[in-house]
């Protein structure tokens, strides 16, 4: 609660920066980074609802992302539907999958959920690689030429940038609303101690499933936006473990369970990733992922609360007092 208040004055500044960014940096390279950043922030914020607020650590969120990513191109490829029509189908399938995974595992401790998510994501990835209808290992393609607003296919990056920014704003607003409501209090109570939460009448399993459904919805949307924009999807870029890794690392780096944690995490990680890919010559050498692994281990070992928590601890008391009012 306090974080959102403390950072209120900065939100407008942040929003203004995000709005004018592509106009200032009109170079395709920078716009591409901007779009990548927004997409990463959307997926990590979506993960954050269940992984951060409710403390149910999914390490296989790529399953929802991948479903969201495949749906538009699958229906375009086979039935000629505009890719945008696949978005609601992706959402519906992701929600169904969320219930399917949440219902059995949320009866048990958090470890089971984590194991189940990674296993299911991997199962779907391998299966998709053998499924001819979904293009098997080769994947699927979208419309060859940009067609316009009616199916969200454009030639330049700019429209995508503002669409993604809009989705991110909606998601952050929903997260904020969740924080303020009973649902959000219940999520944090579950994270802090399930047994105690239950004794106070919190319907633990139902609340966790609802959180996973909400999280899956937006993760699926992120996947759809990705595949519609790139016009291509294959098992690795949809369901690959590194997709899940990125969501976890970005949310945890900024601060899991905080409203702006994922945004801050993406703000740091995406430029860093672009830089390392340039220095290390693409992701082929694995150095980027060594860095990812290292960051995750360091967060877990020294600062599980992420940068927000670190800031809370090291920020000079004077600064905080002047802003807390």
């Amino acid at each position: 609660m306090t974080t959102s208040k403390t950072f209120q004055p900065n939100i407008l500044v942040l929003a203004a920066c995000l709005l004018i960014y592509p106009l200032v940096f009109s170079d395709a390279f920078y716009r591409d980074i901007g779009v990548t950043f927004l997409l990463a922030a959307i997926s990590a914020s979506a993960w954050n609802i269940v992984g951060g607020y409710a403390g149910q650590v999914s390490v296989g969120h790529s399953m929802f992302y991948g479903i969201g990513a495949y749906a538009p191109l699958l229906f375009y490829q086979h039935f000629g539907w505009p890719p945008i029509a696949g978005i609601p189908i992706g959402i519906a399938s992701s929600i169904a999958l969320a219930v399917l995974i949440g219902a059995p595992t949320f009866r048990l401790t958090g470890h089971y959920f984590s194991m189940a998510t990674i296993a299911v994501a991997e199962l779907i990835r391998i299966f998709t690689g053998t499924w001819d209808f979904a293009g098997a290992a080769i994947g699927l393609q979208g419309p060859a030429v940009a067609r316009g607003w009616w199916d969200l296919t454009f030639r330049g990056e700019l429209p995508y940038y503002y669409i993604f920014l809009g989705v991110l704003a909606v998601l952050l607003y929903i997260t904020y609303a969740v924080e303020q409501r009973r649902f959000g209090y219940y999520l944090r109570a579950i994270k802090a101690g399930e047994r105690a939460a239950r004794s106070l009448g919190v319907p633990v399993r139902k609340t966790k499933i609802e959180a996973l459904m909400l999280s899956a919805t937006f993760t699926s949307i992120a996947g759809s936006l990705y595949s519609i924009k790139t016009g291509f999807i294959d098992p690795e870029s949809g369901f690959g473990i590194l997709i899940s890794v990125q969501m976890v690392i970005i949310a945890a780096l900024g601060g899991a369970g905080t409203l702006f944690g994922p945004l801050v995490g993406a703000l740091i990680l995406i430029p860093l990733q672009t830089a390392t890919n340039t220095w290390f010559g693409g992701s082929g050498s694995g150095l980027t992922y060594i860095l990812y692994g290292g960051i995750i281990v360091l967060i877990a070992r020294f600062e599980p609360g992420g940068l927000f928590e670190l800031w809370d601890r090291i920020a000079p008391a004077r600064w905080k007092r002047s802003h807390a009012a």
Binding site: Y186, R188, G201
Partner: protein, 244 residues
């Protein structure tokens, strides 16, 4: 009759933690459960709270059969409990902790907040209302647990050694708080090692030993009971808890 436990048993494998315990609680009672460590009172207590499912017997609360009901259902029906080792939500503020309880009867944040503020005031937690629970000491946490349960508006409160580990002054304050809650019309069942608490607060005690209720009655009678003295006080009076 508010709560009635009949012939409640709980076995873990071959170990019979509770065998055939009975308890009936009237509205407005304040009852103590005592007994040496490992006597089964904590297990029995957890059966009442819905945390442990009895392997035999029947528990009814306000005409509902709650023998196999979930802890959530217990809370909804009006049975609140505290934990022997405080289970406060460490990263949340004291007020937010209490609000989680208050949300049970108040769906909207504004109402829950208002109600929680009243409870925080009542329990003397006002000065720390906006501190995180982790910054509190043991007395503060025990008090917060009581506040949180109180916010669920229970008819029956089960206190699991909520007064253990306090200094004499804190203990007196805590006794006053429990008495206050009782005067508000909340029925109380309390597990406690500290005889002072049992003697000053309760009207009736149940003494557990080796899974059985070996005596029950007014506290001043029970402490003079031969079987009780050998079973319980014979181990030497204990002022402070160590897990059962």
């Amino acid at each position: 009759m508010l709560l009635e436990a009949q012939n409640v048993s709980k076995a873990f494998g071959d170990f019979h933690a509770v065998s055939g315990a009975d308890l009936s609680v009237d509205e407005g009672d304040i009852i103590g459960l005592i007994g040496p460590n490992g006597a089964g009172k904590s297990t029995f207590f957890n059966c009442l709270a819905g945390d442990t499912m009895p392997s035999g017997g029947r528990i009814t609360f306000a005409a509902h059969d709650v023998t196999t009901a979930s802890p959530e259902a217990h809370a909804r029906l009006g049975i609140g409990r505290t934990f022997q080792v405080p289970a406060t939500f460490e990263d949340m503020t004291v007020l937010d902790n209490v609000m989680v309880g208050a949300f049970l009867r108040h769906a909207h944040r504004k109402d829950a907040r208002e109600y929680a503020r009243g409870i925080v005031e009542l329990t003397g937690l006002n000065p720390v209302a906006h501190s995180r629970a982790r910054s509190l000491g043991t007395p503060g946490r025990k008090r917060l647990e009581i506040a949180r349960v109180l916010a669920t508006n229970p008819r029956l409160m089960l206190l699991d050694e909520s007064l253990a580990g306090l200094t004499p002054t804190e203990l007196q304050e805590a006794i006053r708080l429990v008495r206050r809650i009782h005067e508000m019309g909340v029925t109380i069942v309390i597990v406690e090692h500290i005889m002072e608490v049992i003697m000053t607060l309760t009207r009736r005690v149940l003494v557990f030993n080796q899974g059985h209720v070996i005596a029950s009655g007014r506290p001043e009678d029970v402490v003079r009971d031969e079987t009780v003295i050998t079973a319980y006080l014979g181990h030497g009076p204990r002022r402070h808890r160590s897990g059962t």
